[in-house]
Symmetry: C2
């Protein structure tokens, strides 16, 4: 695990009547400002598009993933560079990152208001939000019919836990993990913010030319919110499995985008909220 993700701080551990002076590993939370630089060479513009509270590490992936899942850029090739921008400040030197776009790329900055809603004339009903995403979304899941076996899904949380080092140390991080349909762990990212963990993962997948992620399972260590399903939809993800509960709007959005949404994946059980046909019985057990 990157040493910049964890800090050891003094703590008093109270156990019934005992007070033990000790130290505790905590997940680092620091602000990251994402600055976008774009426009023709003789007229470059800089705009602050987001400040997010994140766990340091994978900052370039996080910023590129964020720009992509928010619809501000549409492909990896839009990007010239993504580098920390040092400011005159004694501490926390890595809290600004500057993403430079190629001179001929026009970023879609209509969407920089949080989560698209304000771009619509009727900006705050679920329907309008979903339509706004459909407008910028670049992949079409509707005909995708890859399947995953139930018995494979059961194994994913343990596979994730085995790799989630920082959470194990701190108990304080969310994780997003990408598995192949045969259960191989391809990518895993952690962060204090669940949306950041997913942006880091999608940024990494984008850098490796893996999109659309329609032959994969996205595993979320916690709950599935609208925002997470929205980001997954932008990356062409067709199967999402969450250890926690989904929200109502997460289910509605998954339904609209023909995404298989699974919740409460724990032990030998889970719930399927949408996209039932992608989950099949255990082939092994069927043939023996």
């Amino acid at each position: 695990m990157p040493s910049s993700s964890v800090i050891y701080l003094p703590v008093v551990k109270v156990r019934e009547d005992e007070h033990i002076e000790s130290s505790d590993a905590l997940a680092i939370e620091e602000p990251l400002e994402i600055r976008l630089e774009y426009g023709p060479e003789d007229d470059r513009k800089t705009q602050n598009v987001s400040v997010t509270m994140r766990t340091p590490g994978s900052d370039a992936e996080l910023s590129v993933g964020f720009l992509f899942t928010e619809g501000i850029i549409s492909k990896k090739e839009d990007i010239l560079s993504a580098e920390h921008h040092f400011i005159a400040c004694a501490e926390n030197k890595e809290n600004v990152i500057r993403v430079s776009l190629k001179a001929d790329v026009a970023p879609n900055l209509n969407n920089t208001e949080r989560n698209f809603y304000t771009t619509s004339s009727c900006g705050v009903c679920g329907k309008a939000s979903i339509n706004a995403i459909r407008t910028v979304g670049t992949f079409d899941n509707r005909k995708d019919q890859n399947t995953v076996e139930a018995s494979l899904l059961y194994q994913l949380p343990d596979l994730l836990a085995h790799h989630q080092h920082i959470f194990t140390a701190t108990g304080g991080l969310h994780a997003s993990a990408l598995f192949s349909l045969s259960g191989e762990l391809l990518l895993m990212r952690e962060d204090v913010g669940r949306h950041n963990a997913l942006d880091k993962l999608i940024g990494a997948a984008l850098a490796q030319n893996m999109l659309p992620l329609n032959k994969h399972v996205l595993l979320l260590s916690g709950r599935a919110s609208f925002e997470l399903v929205q980001k997954a939809a932008m990356a062409g993800i067709t199967i999402i499995a969450a250890v926690g509960a989904p929200s109502s709007l997460a289910v509605q959005l998954a339904e609209e985008f023909n995404i298989t949404l699974i919740g409460f994946l724990r032990g030998q059980r889970f719930n399927i909220y949408t996209g039932l046909s992608r989950v099949i019985e255990n082939t092994y057990e069927n043939t023996h």
Copy 2:
């Protein structure tokens, strides 16, 4: 629990090799746009200050709590009204709320960028963020020395669980609860967003003239992030106990504001990260 907080949707429950068609209670997640109306009577202005994904219910408390914890307003008396604003849209009629300020109140809109950071010239180091909060914070905890007994803290998660109806139904909500120093549950609010649950609670406390909340314990059902400690600091809260882990910056902020921050409060144990002197041994056991 308000019926608008939960929706029942069809689900297929997979249990080993069984598929059971059933229905499942999900926490409702919907966007809420907070519009601020302010200025002299002959020149009223309207500004959208936030769109947040929230669980419907307590929308007035949420919006007023948000305006207060973000430093946009400084007291309950600034507010004329907080009412849903119906827009010409067939569904989700309650997703815009308009908060009207008195004509002579000037809102502090420098802070409407998410979380203060961008207002500082060196906007993205923790130190600057903490200083920005200090500037707008209205209560001084530094001399506060109320105490709480360890044995009382042990009981709080069970008291919360007993009252957290929507979470019990859906498994999908965060809660914030306010207890007296003798362990009485005074206020409890739930939401899909942990920051919303706390804004609802602080909005309710503000409406009841309870601030500063320095003779209380704030219990958080999950992790303690920077944003939650920041909101608690704005309400003068001196003791925060979280069931989950704190982040590094949450501890740093709690230290700066002389807030007692407790994490991993589970069973007969917890960790004290800051403000040790406010936690005392069990008086009962000491005297028998």
